[in-house]
């Protein structure tokens, strides 16, 4: 492993990219998830099947899409259909992973992308669910990617947009969501987290280079489960950074 300079966003993308499972079907949201998916395809998951909600399936990701409907989302793809096709495919259990962002996340992995403050008199109106709620409802495993600070990692989201484990064990099933689905990982600028079986609460899994467990705790607005053994995240290697900078985002939209 070589010593490299990299930004927190680059680090987060590299960590997320390593979570993609080769050969899996995967819903990709706008932004950082697109960069992570492209990096995964170019490194550890060359047979990933990207699915973009407005209809593109199996695109060859040669250039970074800037929107979930643009032509790069079905470039040399296996199909270019519509939103009903992709969402119905997810609803009947064909989509393995969903990668999502959000403005807030709570201990059960619930995400908010609708409002900060009260819904009817919001402090900040955010863009809205888009496909986020559907991805979190239908995909077998969801992974969220976001900046880590105590304004984003909150005890209770202002508006529950995308279901994580809702109120804890059993509550997804109680609400009628398909059994066996739910959040699996959260990738942040400080750490990688998973969820503790039994309590469904977010648990620290590994801390990124030069980040301490205390840093993570002090930037989290709720009590994280801290296991006895916390790993250290491998830093991005020079090849990951080269691909990210030269091939994926040379125009620096995100990095």
């Amino acid at each position: 492993m070589t010593e490299e300079n990299y930004s927190k966003t680059e680090l987060m993308i590299c960590v997320a990219a390593r979570l993609f499972e080769d050969g899996a079907t995967c819903f990709i949201g706008t932004g950082v998830p697109m960069l992570a998916a492209m990096l995964a395809v170019k490194t550890t998951a060359p047979n990933l099947i990207p699915v973009f909600e407005f209809g593109g399936t199996g695109a060859i990701l040669e250039e970074l899409p800037r929107a979930v409907g643009e032509a790069r989302t079905f470039h040399k793809g296996i199909s270019a259909l519509g939103i009903c096709d992709t969402m119905e495919t997810a609803q009947r259990g064909f989509i393995d992973y969903g990668f999502l962002g959000g403005a807030q996340i709570d201990p059960f992995g619930n995400l908010n992308s609708v409002v900060i403050g009260d819904h009817d008199h919001p402090k900040v109106r955010l863009p809205g669910s888009g496909g986020g709620n559907d991805v979190g409802s239908f995909c077998w495993k969801t992974i969220s990617i976001m900046q880590h600070d105590s304004r984003r990692f909150v005890p209770k989201v202002d508006f529950l947009t995308t279901p994580g484990f809702l109120k804890g064990p059993g509550s997804r099933e109680e609400a009628g969501l398909p059994p066996g689905t739910g959040p699996t990982f959260v990738v942040s600028t400080l750490a990688l987290m998973d969820f503790e079986p039994g309590t469904c609460r977010m648990r620290l899994k590994s801390v990124h280079p030069e980040v301490s467990i205390e840093d993570v705790i002090s930037n989290t607005g709720f009590e994280l489960v801290i296991p006895d053994l916390v790993d250290n995240t491998d830093p991005p290697n020079s090849e990951e950074l080269r691909i990210l900078r030269e091939e994926i985002d040379p125009l620096k939209f995100y990095i």
Binding site: C84, M87, S137, R172
Partner: protein
């Protein structure tokens, strides 16, 4: 069937499936008549103040931008809007035309939260935001397209999305699982941009179909804008390519570069600078107004708009198109 939970969001477009059938029987001609007209005439004839309106696909992708701008030029107001959008709905919000929203996502994607959306919602100009996911709003149109009053789905369950929508949760009478019933959505008017149409309104699409199939079948009036007007013989030669048949369509507008500064698969790519200009200018209310003045009010029509953009930028957009090879 017991209702287990009801969303409190307003059903901002009440509907009646038998009225819709009657509308389709009496108000939609089966005759092959020439429906070619200008943006100005189409919007003037079919878009009324206070109507419920939607656009497809969205803002930077196969979007009916020339029609969107004409709605602003004519100052249509108090619109109730079905909201999946980027530039198109952001422009309407900035122009103050939107009263109520069935919102799914209005964002600038790579460029973040639209300042015009924030201003319009946070200052109360938009009276109501009823929340839906992308799948659920499309399935609402699918229900209307099927001619049925609702569709059961597994979307929005257990979340605030359901509470702020007008969906209802029931126990499925066949297997006992909980399902969210989504009410049908019948739009008063829909605006859809396509690659090719004939003068009667038979439409061909390339690239993803987004929700064009559902929306075109879930509206009372349908205005099509098309990059190219083709002979009906071409339509009849490839009938499997007809995504929207003519009898759904009320107006056909010839609009080359109709999705600019957004893209049109295989014809032209997006103009990043053109999109960024809106992103930058819309950061203030005054900037947004200046943009609307420059690109909409100061030009008489779509031809005038394209003239303002200039041949060089349009040629560059063509050069940046998606290619099949």
């Amino acid at each position: 069937m017991d209702i287990l939970e009801s969303g409190n969001g307003e059903l901002i477009q009440p509907f009646d499936m038998d009225d819709f059938r009657e509308w389709n029987r009496t108000k939609k001609s089966r005759k092959l008549v020439d429906k070619l007209m200008s943006e100005s005439e189409a919007i003037n004839r079919f878009v009324q103040d206070g109507c419920y309106i939607g656009t497809e696909l969205y803002g930077t992708v196969r979007a009916p931008m020339s029609l969107t701008r004409e709605v602003i030029r004519q100052g249509k107001k108090d619109l109730r809007v079905c909201g999946q959008g980027v530039l198109e709905l952001d422009l309407w919000l900035a122009a103050g035309l939107v009263k109520k929203l069935d919102i799914t996502y209005i964002g600038l994607e790579v460029y973040g939260i639209p300042p015009s959306l924030r201003r319009a919602v946070e200052n109360g100009q938009v009276e109501t935001c009823v929340e839906w996911s992308n799948a659920s709003i499309t399935w609402r149109m699918k229900a209307a397209a099927m001619g049925i009053p609702f569709l059961p789905t597994r979307s929005m369950l257990g979340t605030d999305m359901l509470k702020y929508s007008s969906a209802k949760v029931v126990e499925d009478p066949f297997t006992g699982i909980k399902v969210a019933l989504l009410p049908a959505l019948i739009l008063d008017v829909a605006l859809i941009h396509v690659q090719r149409a004939d003068k009667f309104g038979n439409c061909q699409l390339e690239g993803i179909s987004g929700f064009a199939l559902e929306m075109s079948r879930a509206c009372k009036r349908l205005i099509i804008s098309a990059e190219e007007i083709i002979p009906t013989e071409e339509i009849r030669k490839y009938p499997e390519q007809t995504a929207i048949p003519y009898f759904l369509v009320d107006a056909v507008v010839h609009a080359p570069f109709g999705s600019y500064p957004g893209e049109m698969a295989y014809l032209y790519g997006r103009d990043e600078e053109g999109i960024k200009e809106w992103v930058d200018m819309s950061s203030t209310k005054e900037g947004a107004k200046a943009y609307l003045d420059k690109y909409i009010h100061a030009v008489p029509d779509h031809a005038g708009y394209l003239n303002l953009i200039g041949e060089d930028r349009l040629k560059q957009a063509v050069k940046n198109r998606e290619r099949r090879d």
